[in-house]
């Protein structure tokens, strides 16, 4: 009777929903079903926080009519009794590519990169595709929909996951009975963006993260300019972008740093993105919180590494082990910090993994309410569709789940997933619970049968006395099939029975090992009890390691803070007129050098006995590529629009290594892939702080230029980009500067102008507000750039590398440009044939301000030794040699008023050396920035021990995980690439 009723319900609902009024009908007569369906006696989650015990949900025509404790049911109501069961709004996957085909990867671009766009009538960059609409590619995927419904989903929000601007998405229900007319809730559900280029397009710009960021900024400026009617050609991309402006904007960031990066772009243009995170946001939750963005979180908590082979285990960094340990806390940490987030299936292998992952997050402290919100109300809110999806409030779609109990509990069964009022059976609600302990007597032997597991997926164990017998159980539609081996080995008993509702025992047919048939009765001795639960409770509160800043093994548990310190009795290398002061005290207070003298009073400052030791200013590396996520934007021959400040990587081990070598400040330069590179980041190497904390306050503005073989692309296969000769390089500069001059003039005239970040940057150079640090090798090109600069009435600030600077040192002195050079590099390419280690000494002799730089993460940490090479090559005075890595680079970077020497009032960026700072035998013992000790030899020793112990502990935990049968993955080293000028 009941079954029949159910069947009718489905039938009626089906009819009522999907016969549109205005559609003609030729296969029968038009009819309507205006009956109500009521679900009674259920625990109803109207929203995750509005819960009705023993309530009734009344639906009609696919929508919720009423939900309450008591609902007066209209007469034409079909009632379904859900006593003891729960009803939840069905889940929403907000970040999906359901039903949208993945674009195909473009074939390689052969000999030379493709610099020009392929499209016409669109934006100049092929990776910007706001004109794409997922709806045009949408094709309902029944198979995938079934998987999703089985995991509890009723709605997915899909888009074309390709390109930097991806156009609009489509919000659809997983309604199997209906058609797209019913399913599509919104065919422009939002606009989607990312930092990743389209795989289907080959245009080489942007070739870097910072390039993608610059492209997005310029695109927004251009869209505005277009909207104001200033562009008289058709640009379908910008038009679409402007049309999509009012939609929700969803950004694919995929890691904690990129979440902040994306948000910054949004902030600059008054857009608040909802952002797809990466699962590592717990590591930097303060900055994440500040974005005010709603996050979309993948649940791809990493599997443990298989560390059973110790040789393999070595390759796994403590950072990755820590992330394995802590990743499941990500949702909890974000929730605790008030960050709103939605979950997504994105990056999960299968929707069926969802439950286990959410359970894990809950096990690691996430509240069930937040978990449910992340699957229902929050995604609905992000999409601006709270009235329709994510809850069971009146008027919302009747899309809901019926479960046997608490939806996130292990033993809970999902019975039905209703989508827009149509029922989808996941597991039969009418299944009898056959779980329990049974006795089965056969031929004088009593077999103990124990049935456990889920109601619809029961597990069995058969014992004869205490001996476990091989057995197999299947249970479907209340029919059970059980076979088990006898103690005589291969001979089996086979049983089959229909579990009847009104009987505790199991009665049915028996096939004996000899093949003859009989009947059996298995007597129920006791009911099933959730014994497993106890184990779960023991497992609770997983052991967690502490977050460190940064997460690397050498990260600190607490960020270093400024201390007041008195260095007593040091040999002080001032890098000032004062030269070297023996037996001198230096007092550091509030991050500044406050006093230099003899027998200073420490006051409350900590005393460091520096007897026999040397105290210097921190080393400054004028040319560094550490602490970056990208170096070159080589997609264009000028990339003045990109900023190294956008791609600072505060977790690069190079920072710690540099500190251990006494380096406190670096100029993070763009690479040398193009004549006009990107803007620099000048950083204090504050290990543990965020990128923004490392960037100098009021930082002087710099930009990288480059000359020679790299910009001509001489040493790799590329023949398509201008310039290919040094002659072309000159003309390129002239062209850009001329255009920047004209741009600036127009801007200053007050006339409307198209804002161009590249031209803005170049105009800053012309106006003396931004300084050039130019990668250079041979004398001809060095001379050329000075002449170009003079023509445009500005000065080149620094020639970096400048290996033939010695040949034009007089001209350099006259122009007023500094030289920042390698100590002794040469012979690695043709243009360094005449590079000589005497270069620094010769330039210095002609009055050029000379610095020694690294361009290399290894050399950077030994710049004191590199400076000492100028003593060997060219007989530099030791004091002058030392200045080449302290005050001279500070001068070149226009930060000599703050750092670079030991002088009262300057920043306390200091290094305490075990001996003479230029000696090969000396070590940095303490490296201090703004009065905080960021490297300490003794602390380093402790860190080593701590790393060993923590690794050991985590390896133990991972081994246990493997033994417990959990999935593991092959050890891998997630190592960053060492970068130089030429890194693409």
């Amino acid at each position: 009777m009941k079954m029949r009723l159910l069947f009718l319900t489905i039938f009626w609902c089906g009819c009522s929903l999907f016969a549109q009024d205005y559609f003609p009908k030729n296969d029968g007569v038009k009819s309507k079903n205006n009956n109500y369906t009521a679900f009674t006696n259920a625990k109803i989650y109207v929203t995750p926080t509005q819960i009705i015990d023993n309530g009734t949900l009344l639906i009609l025509n696919g929508k919720v009519v009423q939900v309450a404790k008591t609902v007066s049911l209209p007469k034409n109501t079909v009632t379904i009794d859900l006593k003891g069961k729960h009803i939840y709004p069905s889940f929403i996957d907000i970040y999906s590519d359901f039903g949208v085909e993945k674009p195909k990867r473009a074939p390689g671009s052969g000999r030379s990169p493709q610099y020009e766009p392929e499209r016409e009538g669109f934006y100049w960059n092929d990776h910007v595709m706001p004109e794409n609409n997922a709806i045009t590619k949408f094709k309902y995927d029944g198979k995938k929909a079934k998987e999703l419904r089985e995991a509890g989903f009723g709605v997915v929000n899909s888009h074309i996951q390709d390109g930097i601007v991806r156009g609009t998405g489509v919000l659809v229900t997983l309604n199997e009975e209906g058609n797209d007319g019913d399913r599509i809730i919104d065919d422009k559900s939002g606009q989607y963006l990312s930092f990743s280029k389209s795989v289907a397009k080959r245009q080489s710009y942007p070739g870097s993260l910072m390039g993608a960021m610059a492209l997005l900024r310029q695109m927004y400026y251009d869209a505005d300019w277009y909207a104001k009617g200033n562009i008289d050609t058709k640009d379908r991309s910008l038009e679409a972008l402007n049309n999509n402006k009012s939609l929700v904007q969803i950004f694919e960031a995929k890691d904690k740093g990129n979440v902040v990066r994306a948000d910054k772009i949004g902030d600059a243009f008054g857009i608040q993105y909802a952002i797809l995170g990466g699962g590592d946001e717990y590591q930097n939750v303060e900055d994440i919180k500040k974005t005010n963005a709603k996050l979309i979180l993948p649940l791809n908590f990493p599997d443990a590494f298989d560390v059973s082979n110790p040789y393999h285990a070595e390759y796994v960094s403590l950072k990755d082990m820590r992330h394995w340990n802590l990743a499941p806390t990500n949702p909890k940490v974000l929730a605790d910090n008030g960050v709103a987030f939605s979950f997504t299936l994105h990056d999960l292998k299968s929707p069926s993994n969802l439950k286990e992952k959410v359970q894990k997050a809950i096990e690691y402290g996430l509240s069930e309410t937040k978990a449910l919100e992340a699957l229902t109300t929050i995604p609905a809110q992000i999409l601006g569709k709270s009235d329709k999806i994510g809850s069971l409030r009146t008027g919302a779609y009747a899309s809901f789940l019926i479960t046997s109990g608490n939806i996130f509990d292990k033993g809970t069964t999902l019975y039905e997933n209703w989508v827009q009022g149509t029922k989808n059976n996941i597991t039969s609600m009418d299944a009898k619970d056959i779980r329990g302990e049974y006795d089965l007597s056969l031929a004088g032997t009593t077999y103990k049968i124990s049935i456990t597991g889920e109601i619809n997926k029961p597990k069995v164990e058969v014992k004869q006395d205490t001996v476990k017998l091989g057995s197999k159980l299947s249970f479907k539609d209340n029919w059970l099939n059980l076979s088990f081996a006898t103690d005589e080995g291969e001979k089996n008993y086979r049983l089959t029975a229909l579990a009847e509702m009104d009987s505790e025992d199991l009665n049915g047919k028996l096939v004996l090992p000899n093949g003859s048939e009989s009947t059996f009765t298995a007597k129920k001795m006791s009911d099933f009890s959730e014994k497993e639960k106890k184990d779960d409770e023991e497992k609770k509160t997983p052991e967690l390691v502490q977050v460190s800043y940064p997460m690397n093994g050498y990260g600190y548990k607490a960020k270093p803070k400024a201390e007041d310190i008195l260095f007593k009795n040091a040999t002080v290398w001032t890098s000032e007129e004062a030269g070297i002061l023996e037996n001198t005290d230096v007092l550091v207070k509030d991050g500044k050098i406050v006093k230099i003298g003899n027998n200073l009073n420490a006051g409350r400052a900590k005393i460091v006995d520096a007897t026999g030791k040397h105290l210097t200013a921190g080393i400054i590396d004028e040319h560094s590529h550490i602490a970056a996520l990208a170096i070159n934007e080589g997609g264009h021959n000028s990339s003045a629009e990109v900023k190294m400040e956008d791609v600072v990587d505060p977790e690069d081990m190079g920072i710690y290594h540099d500190l251990a070598g006494g380096v406190t400040t670096i100029q993070l330069l763009h690479g040398s892939a193009n004549p006009i590179g990107g803007r620099s980041a000048i950083l204090k190497l504050k290990w543990g702080e965020s990128a923004d904390e490392m960037i100098y306050d009021n930082s002087p503005k710099f930009i990288k230029f480059a000359l020679g073989e790299n910009v001509k692309q001489s040493n790799w296969q590329s023949f398509a980009r201008f310039p290919q000769t040094r002659m072309g390089v000159e003309q390129l500069f002239v062209n850009y500067f001329q255009r920047a001059k004209e741009y600036d003039a127009k801007k200053k005239s007050g006339k409307p102008y198209r804002y161009d970040e590249e031209m803005e940057t170049l105009a800053e150079i012309l106006n003396g507000e931004r300084f050039i640090s130019c990668h250079s090798y041979v004398q001809s090109e060095i001379n050329m750039l000075m002449k170009v600069a003079e023509k445009f009435d500005f000065k080149v600030n620094t020639f970096t590398h400048i290996l033939e600077g010695y040949k034009v040192a007089d001209k350099m002195a006259e122009h007023g440009v500094g030289g920042s050079t390698f100590s002794d590099w040469w012979a690695y390419k043709f243009e360094v044939n005449d590079a000589i280690p005497y270069n620094a000494a010769i330039m210095h002799s002609q009055g050029v301000t000379v610095a020694i730089n690294s361009d290399d993460g290894e050399m950077s940490r030994r710049l004191n030794q590199e400076a000492a090479k100028t003593v060997k090559y060219g007989g530099m005075d030791e004091l002058e040699a030392w200045k080449m890595v302290t005050i001279n680079p500070a001068k070149l970077l226009h930060i000599d008023n703050r750092v670079g020497s030991i002088k009262e009032g300057k920043d306390a960026d200091l290094v305490l050396w075990s001996g003479h700072p230029l000696s090969i035998y000396s070590k940095a013992e303490k490296t201090m920035i703004d009065g905080a000790v960021y490297f300490d030899l003794e602390k380093d020793e402790q860190q080593r021990e701590a790393i060993k112990q923590e690794r050991n502990k985590l390896i133990g935990m991972m081994l246990k995980e493997k033994e417990g049968g959990a999935k593991t993955r092959t050890p891998k080293q997630s190592k960053k690439q060492q970068m130089t000028c030429e890194t693409m």
Binding site: A809, R861, S974, K975
Partner: protein, 430 residues
């Protein structure tokens, strides 16, 4: 500054006296005595206020200057200066490539996987400007080895002041260089894999290829009737002990696999090159009498959790464990001239500087099998040595005044010093 100018004048004078660059020093005609310098013998000993004398290219006296014996021939005042045996660069491509990025100048890497018959000796460019730049830093000898492939080829030991490769040769075909398969391989990032390392699934297969090649070489040597096989023939010295097998390996497993494999298949002497994790298997290496040529200390730690100074101190850890240790140079060939400073860096980790010095003198000579003539200052050995103004292991002291190879007074001028003088001359109005 004054110091610099003085030095400059001295050097300009040297040029004016017409010392042609690149011209190898003539055979020693006159005896030379160096009186009063601190002599670092290269065997761990130091003689303060020493007297060193040599004649016909051989050392005739090594002892205290307090000895009241006649100073023979030309006397060099050594007071305040330091004398060292010529430093030895191990496993270097010096002379095989001139400019890294210019393919036409690059002869380091032949195509093919098993190339023991490929010989560096005959491609060695005795007139390389890069080789010449070694001398002013005290590096006077080197083991020149090809790169690439599984067995890259055969190295030869050369001295750095010669008219041609024949003149330069100290020991031809001294060793065969084998890059052991990596148990872990780098991610192929260009194909979308993450960077960093992952287990090399083909490791065992690659090891088997090496084993098979060595076994076949051994078998080939036992039958003289078969047709000539250049590659197998070149391997024979490994089995009779006349050549050494230099195996490049870093991880514990690779090291153990490599050494065991070679030894089990008849290779007499194995030298480990690289050996990043050699400190974890020192007992094993000692048992197998394996010397280690450690990669340049001026490298970054390979693993993020490693001690920041691990590459600095690895040679010390191995020396402390009683292994015979030498040093390899870093990446680009020009870096070989920083070899003395690598030693200084190691000494800076607490190793006795004289012991550290052995890594580029006596230890290197012993590994190369040229210790009967080179590597230490001993009577009867070759007068291959130099005089430095100060501590040659420190940049501030490494200032050569004289260098001798087999008693020949060799030029300390280079393409680079010439340019220095030319342009200083320009600025100073000459």
């Amino acid at each position: 500054m004054k110091k610099a100018t003085n030095l400059l004048i001295v050097l300009i004078l040297l040029v004016v006296t017409g010392r042609a660059q690149q011209t190898p020093g003539p055979v020693q005609k006159e005896a030379i005595s160096i009186d009063g310098a601190t002599a670092h013998l290269g065997n761990g000993e130091v003689i303060e206020n020493s007297l060193i004398m040599f004649e016909n290219g051989k050392l005739t006296f090594v002892g205290s200057a307090n000895n009241k014996i006649a100073r023979k021939g030309k006397v060099i005042k050594g007071k305040g200066k330091h004398i060292y045996p010529g430093f030895i660069a191990m496993s270097s491509a010096l002379g095989l490539v001139e400019v890294d990025a210019v393919r036409a100048s690059d002869d380091q890497d032949e195509i093919g996987d098993f190339l023991p018959h490929i010989r560096s000796q005959i491609a060695y460019n005795a007139e390389s400007k890069v080789v010449e730049s070694m001398r002013p830093n005290g590096i006077l000898l080197g083991q020149i080895a090809p790169n690439g492939g599984r067995i890259s080829g055969s190295s030869s030991v050369m001295q750095f002041d010669a008219w041609n490769w024949e003149d330069a040769t100290i020991k031809a075909d001294d060793g065969i260089h084998l890059s052991w398969p990596s148990a872990f391989r780098r991610g192929r990032w260009w194909a979308g894999e993450p960077r960093g390392y992952q287990p090399n699934k083909d490791y065992q297969k690659q090891v088997d290829e090496v084993t098979s090649f060595i076994k076949n070489s051994l078998a080939y040597g036992k039958d003289t009737s078969s047709e000539k096989n250049q590659a197998y023939a070149a391997m024979q010295g490994l089995f009779d002990g006349s050549k050494k097998l230099y195996i490049y390996a870093d991880s514990e497993k690779e090291i153990i696999d490599a050494v065991s494999n070679a030894k089990n298949n008849g290779v007499q002497t194995v030298v480990l090159v690289g050996g990043y994790h050699a400190h974890k298997v020192t007992d094993f290496l000692k048992q197998n009498k394996v010397a280690v040529v450690v990669r340049a200390p001026h490298n970054l730690p390979a693993f993020d959790d490693d001690d920041y100074d691990f590459p600095y101190k690895l040679p010390k850890l191995l020396a402390d464990a009683g292994l015979l240790v030498a040093l390899q140079t870093r990446g680009e060939i020009f870096q070989a001239r920083n070899l003395p400073f690598y030693v200084g860096q190691v000494a800076g980790q607490g190793l006795d500087p004289e012991k550290a010095l052995q890594m580029i003198t006596s230890n290197a000579a012993q590994i190369l099998g040229i210790d009967n003539s080179y590597g230490t200052l001993d009577v009867g050995k070759s007068a291959t040595l130099f005089v430095s103004e100060g501590d040659a292991l420190d940049m501030r002291g490494n200032q050569l005044t004289h260098a001798f190879i087999d008693g020949r007074d060799v030029s300390l001028e280079t393409h680079q010093t010439e340019l220095w003088k030319r342009y200083m001359g320009k600025y100073e109005g000459e």
